[in-house]
Amino acid sequence: MAENTFMGVPREKITWAPVIDYSRCNYCLECAKFCPHQVYEVREEEPRLIVANPTNCVVFCRACAKTCGPDAISFPEKSWVLEAIKALRQEEGGK
């Protein structure tokens, strides 16, 4: 349940994941070091950091952004995502 769904909705249907602003990112990799869910992947080539596993990202968690000195990480609006989750739950007939 916990790994595949959030509030009863399949995780892959929920568009919650970090977005990296490469004009700000200084590749300190604090976000990748912090995230225990392997959302980020560090590469040798450019860009050196990518969001490799967006559906591993815990819905409504923005902890990695709070580790980002240059403020290069953003997330979707929580209220918008919550409304989408509510709609998906209705479509799927509740819990």
Binding site: E3, M7, T67, G69, S79
Partner: protein, 290 residues
């Protein structure tokens, strides 16, 4: 009468946020008769500040989210009395510190405004924080379910508590809700060093931010399980954040809210039994390296 504080500011000079931290430290020191610690000198010769740190309460002023000053405090086991993060203050005021070190034209007014909002806190008034009006309203959990994994023991209250999948709980009494974090989350964060609860009067949405909690590992944004208006915060955790580690469901509660939409909120919450199932999966996933 002003209290005596010891101020540890960010020393970052390569970004405006660091320079703003310094400006605020100077302003606060002048207004309260406090002393400023140089972060560079402190790391080189900590004994220089040993007696100062014993005399006064430590105020940390971070510049950006890198939180260098906080990290210096955590690495040296310094107990933080209050913390200000200039990047957060800037967001609240739609002020946009640039990547450059040069302080912009509006910086002085911005720093003045930040100090004006914090001044009552440091002038003994403790403004903006109100004690719990209904301290006796919320009884502690009567019964816990327990999940053991290796040396870890995770507790979940069985009755009266509701959880979201972000490991935050609400205990409901009438139209009041007391909120906090689960035993699973506090153990994951390990030693909690600082808590920033939501300000009284703040309107919080379900799944919106209800403050932050900080450990040696990271800053963690708390995700509110309910919608409502903050009517009280737990003063005790400001002085002793370790209470959350000791007892996250009783002494370590974070805030109390006047609930405005609990019947609707409840649809997206888990009772203790269901949360325990989620917790077991999280523990299993964590240990499987997912």
């Amino acid at each position: 009468m002003a209290a005596k504080y010891v101020i540890l500011p960010c020393n970052g000079l390569d970004k405006e946020a660091g320079c703003l931290a310094r400006e605020l430290a100077l302003k606060m020191a002048a207004a309260t008769g406090s002393e400023i610690i140089c972060p560079v000198l402190y790391q080189t010769a900590p004994s220089r500040y040993a007696s100062l740190l014993q005399e006064g309460s430590l105020v940390v002023i971070d510049g950006c989210a890198t939180r260098c000053a906080s990290r210096i405090a955590a690495n040296n086991n310094l107990k933080i009395y209050r913390k200000i993060t200039m990047a957060e203050e800037a967001k609240k005021r739609d002020y946009n510190p640039g990547p450059d070190w040069r302080v912009g034209a509006g910086a002085a007014a911005f720093v003045e405004d930040v100090w004006r909002s914090w001044q009552p806190v440091f002038m003994e008034a403790e403004a903006g924080r109100v004690p719990g009006e209904n301290a006796g309203l919320f009884a502690g959990p009567l019964e816990y379910a327990i999940h053991r994994h290796d040396k870890f023991i995770f507790r979940v209250p069985l009755a009266g508590f509701y959880f979201n999948e972000n490991d935050c709980w609400v205990q409901v009494e009438g139209n009041r809700g007391r909120v906090g974090i689960s035993d699973y989350l506090q153990q994951n964060l390990s030693d909690i060093t600082f808590v920033t609860p939501p300000d009284p009067g703040t309107e919080v949405e379900q799944f919106g931010e209800m403050g932050t909690i900080e450990s040696a590992k990271a800053v963690y944004e708390l995700v509110s399980p309910v919608t409502g208006r903050v009517v009280a915060v737990n003063e005790a955790i400001l002085e002793a954040p370790e209470l959350i580690n000791e007892n996250p469901y009783e002494k370590g509660w974070i805030a109390e809210l006047e609930l405005t939409n609990f019947e609707a909120d409840r649809e997206f919450l888990l009772d203790g039994q269901r949360y325990m199932e989620v917790l077991k999966e999280k523990v299993a996933d964590f240990n499987a390296g997912k």
